[in-house]
Symmetry: C2
Subunit: 278 residues, 2 copies
């Protein structure tokens, strides 16, 4: 890989201040990295592409489960970027098949492979759903002085499959997946208040406190992401997670599904502030 | 019609305190009335049913135009009520074909008829979309002391087709329809602030001020609803309107579409407060 294709990381480059288009060009050029900290102020997003025959079911699944599956954009079958009216991802030259740093390919409910370029496995009938990500509300939590333990520890946020069921839609069903952040007891109310103002990116927590009440048994071994890093006095706070569609894929077994790899998100052209209510 | 089927209005009945299920039973029994003021505290909603072959396009149209088309619930083809997990409309005995006071039937983009009972015109392949209504944020506006001139005048809110285009989706396209409320200049900021906390029911206004900038020419003759009733010093404030799908139907000409009649809404089991953010 050469420097001209962007695959080689420049150690002096400040990825926090890159434009989303420049970041996507790096990833399209072969750079395969987690996107935490890239392009601050811009919304990152989960991605799942499914065959068109399941696209309506997916839209209804998302509508019935808006906390884990807030749809920010739909890219039509045969298209590789959002239509020009879309704030999320409509830049000329963008290509949803290459602009993520890493993809997962699921076949009939099994993780078949991870790839950096999804073009060889893409199909013309795939409809792509861009789904909100909690990175968007992590920035205002930090700005309010609320510590985020996984960032301090240099880890990915822990994510757990729960015993809670999503509402099903047609042929699609699965469990709710949550992300967990340990929040100091005297800041839990602030974390709830601030995240609730971002309903399009998972919004308020779904649960505060006892993980056993969610059916979480393997506390130290999350189903996705890294082990939790709580500090004394922290309360576990659980938010609905955009990995929920991947758990749905494991259970619903579509012929094919192509998603981002956890932590390797789509960097969109939308600003975090676009999703702030009121 | 007999009193036992609810068709005969009881002049002593206080419709504001009826349960949603009781109100829907009245409408199913033959009572054909506008629903403003019914079942206070419960969300009322727009309804549009389209053939399944257009259902995915409709979901994407709604996703691309969330301000006029916030989808609260989807009722699958062949079903007459929401599935049991739905907060909106899942009461046993409910039937979307009868529980609205009045329906409009569009055929190939033309308003063909208005009916009180949609069963004779229903089709098994119709998918029903329940869409948020600005009635939900009118209550907190009133509670904050903001006058609503159309209510004071005993009129329906005026609604206008604008020159603004919705983002299209597949075979569906059309103009943005807005509702207009005249707000005293010193309360416009409050009206914006309060309505913005209800993003699932149209949220913040799309435009404040000059109607000509929206391409509105026939100010005194709105396309839907009644003539405006502004007071001196009022500023016209425009919100995205749930009649937008009906304007889309006029332009996109599906084989059939069944909607509520403007002002004759679905009274849901969801509370206005369920849609309050944060």
């Amino acid at each position: 890989m050469s420097t001209t294709d962007g695959a080689q990381a420049d150690p002096d480059e400040d990825v926090a201040t890159l434009s989303p288009a420049a970041a996507r060009a790096r990833f399209a050029g072969g750079r395969a990295t987690a996107t935490s900290g890239w392009c601050q102020g811009y919304a990152q997003a989960n991605v799942i592409a499914l065959p068109r025959e399941l696209a309506f079911d997916m839209m209804v699944f998302a509508q019935r489960n808006p906390k884990p599956c807030p749809v920010l954009e739909v890219i039509d079958a045969g298209q590789v970027r959002a239509d020009p009216g879309g704030a999320v991802f409509s830049a000329p030259g963008s290509d949803i098949r290459t602009d993520l740093p890493r993809y997962r390919v699921y076949r009939r409910g099994t993780l078949a492979e991870e790839v950096d370029d999804a073009r060889p496995v893409w199909r013309e009938d795939l409809v792509t759903f861009v789904i909100g990500c909690s990175f968007t509300f992590e920035h205002p939590l930090l700005a309010a002085g609320i510590p985020l333990r996984h960032l301090d520890a240099g880890r990915n946020v822990p994510m757990y499959r729960t015993a809670l069921r999503c509402r099903s839609a047609g042929r699609l069903a699965g469990p709710l997946v949550v992300s967990m952040r340990g929040i100091p007891a005297d800041r839990v109310a602030d974390a709830v208040r601030i995240s609730s103002r971002y309903p399009a990116v998972h919004g308020a927590p779904v649960h505060v406190g006892d993980p056993a009440a969610l059916g979480i048994e393997s506390w130290d071994e999350p189903d996705y992401g890294d082990a939790p890093a709580l500090q004394p006095g922290d309360v576990p706070v659980f938010w609905a997670c955009g990995v929920t569609p991947q758990a749905m894929v494991l259970e619903s077994c579509p012929e094919v599904a192509i998603t981002h790899s956890p932590g390797h998100m789509l960097v969109t052209d939308a600003r975090d502030a676009d999703y702030l209510v009121p």
